[in-house]
Amino acid sequence: MILNENQKMIRQMARDFAASKLAPIAAEIDRSGEFPETTVKEMGALGFLGLAVPEAYGGVDSDITSYALVVEEISRVCGSHGLTVAAHNSLGCWPIAHLGSDAQKQAWLPGAATGEHLLSFGLTEAGAGSDAGGTRTTAVRDGDQWVLNGTKMWITNSHYAGAIVITAKTDLEAEGSRGISAFVVPTDTPGFTVEKKEDKLGMRASDTAPLTLEDVRLPADALLGEEGGGFKYFMMTLDGGRISIAAVALGLAVGAFDTARVYAQERHQFGRPIASFQAIEFMLADMATQIEAARQLTYEACRLKDVGESFGHMAAMAKLHASETAMFVTDRAIQILGGYGYTTEYPAERFYRDAKLCTIGEGTSEIQRMVIGRHVLTD
């Protein structure tokens, strides 16, 4: 894929920002697990938080390719920032921008685009992970209000979100994935609680928390799109989300690869740079090849979405391959760095821990294989 001037420009902007603002703090926020509010706000000022927001609502309304380039460049330096931007744009802003009413857009998108607040997406539950249709949270009509009850899990950005799109069962009689609707829930609504942040293997500076909804009363116009459209909406949202995770994974792989490539040329053992040993040279060759394949799949998924073609299967392939590539490449990077790779002095081990999220979040690798398998069997 050939990038246009605009895409190259935005990539350069993200690269410069990541190098100057994120590289100095990435190791520290991983250690402390602190959410980087200051740099997230700065990303708002640069427009990175409004990539999925129409210009009429203060956003940049970029093409998906540009968006993926931004996520890749940021993740190349810091996975936590990458995940924060990715979840905000594709899971938080996108459904409101594409499915929301004018009032909903007016209420939430301008603040989201500037980084005044984030937006977030509440789908997963304790008993509804890969089986997202198994939603137990309920929304019951009471006069012209909706009353929501239930719990959600692993919700990214929730402590910093102004509103969260929540999926809930509105037709309690309906079986399986039917009868689910989506609501825009302001996080200051009484009865709505964002619980304690999760302590995670990686992506430690990204904000992941469970939510509790206890008699959360919402006006009728809090419904997103049509009643009963929830399953369709979240499947559409996740298709886009998978491009995001593919871009995060790609960035992590590139970051780890750069570290390993430089180290292999500097580190001497047996009187010469270890890069001159075929075992190391071949590792680097495999890493580079896997990265390039992941990049092409990711950009191709972006292109299909940008031109309005069906892209779900390609997004799943990109997500599957890029996340497994991130695991492979970050692991090989640690191996090339040897003992140093296992310490926090070098970023390889952080990239490795961060990469593991990509084979799990927004549909595990197993779910991607289900999506791809069904596509190839029905095509």
Binding site: G127, G129, D131, G134, G339, T343, I360
Partner: protein, 380 residues
Amino acid sequence: MQFELSEQQRMIRDMARDFANREIVPIAAELDAEERFPKEIVKQMGELGFMGMNVPEKWGGAGLDMVCYALAMEEVSRACASCGVIMSVNNSLVCWPLETYGDDAQREKFLKPLAQGKLLGAYCLSEPGAGTDAASQSTTAKLDGDTWVLNGMKNFITNGANADVLIVFAQTDPALKHKGIAAFIVEATAEGFSVIRKEEKMGIRASDTAQLAFDNVRVPADQLLGQVGQGFKVAMSTLDGGRIGIASQALGVSAAAYEAARLYSLQREQFGRPIAKFQAIQWKIADMATRLEAARLLTWRAAWAKDQGGRYSEEAAMAKLYASEASHFITNEAVQVFGGNGYSKEYPVERHFRDAKITEIYEGTSEAQRMVISALELKK
């Protein structure tokens, strides 16, 4: 050929399992989170005879065979890989060379308390510039009257900040390269010895890994271990045994992750049934179980080969290579079976995943094992 463990081997395994379940499992997550060196566990392992398992009883050890050691290492590491490596270093890398290359005075003074767990040992071979290329030692030892004077720096030393006794490798004649290396017994109380820093690591966080400095450290001549010029042989032969320890550690981490994933897959329901009912999960279980078993058999064969008294370098390298890569595979799949829960510190599989990675690096990276194996294979 027979695949049965002896009565004694089964007894040791059960004892280690009971001990690990009772004393280590309840605190393992906390040790990891706090990066706390488990002094109380090390003391208890000493009392059980786990700190000098293969050392003859007359030198303070338990006088058990290598298979018993592999079994106990697996059980301790199943609970906590950090406790496993502390034990492995003391047994394989410190007690073994002292017993094998030491004289009776050294055995009496150092081996006995180390094997009893009253003192803790460390093995100082790696340097900033000498990792896989261990022969490129730049630490020096010069004879001054009847004392050796050591100068240099050692890197990534397990137990480095907690050890009482250190086996230190140094160059007595740099012109002779690896034939000019000697091994020394250094006490941590020696003047000029210092801990520069402790590494912050991805895993095995309760075990300390330190960078050490030797600044004109004076070592009495009778603390030379083996002969001058014999050091590289001491180092390499010691690592052969160490690899069986690390293979067993990897095995323990794998066994813990596998068992957790197996149980979770039977309990966790999605799409209206336990996820163990899905073929994708069943195949993961099959692959994990097969690699775990292959790793265990390779490890036990290496331990058995050492007990037979012949050469076992290749068996040990194969066991270490395979068991560590299996551990990587198994812990990664275990996190995957757990999904989001696997990524959280609420369940132990994320710790197993972090701990497993070190087994592919220390006591010879996987690349170093492949060098050993291919060199021996190509010489046949």
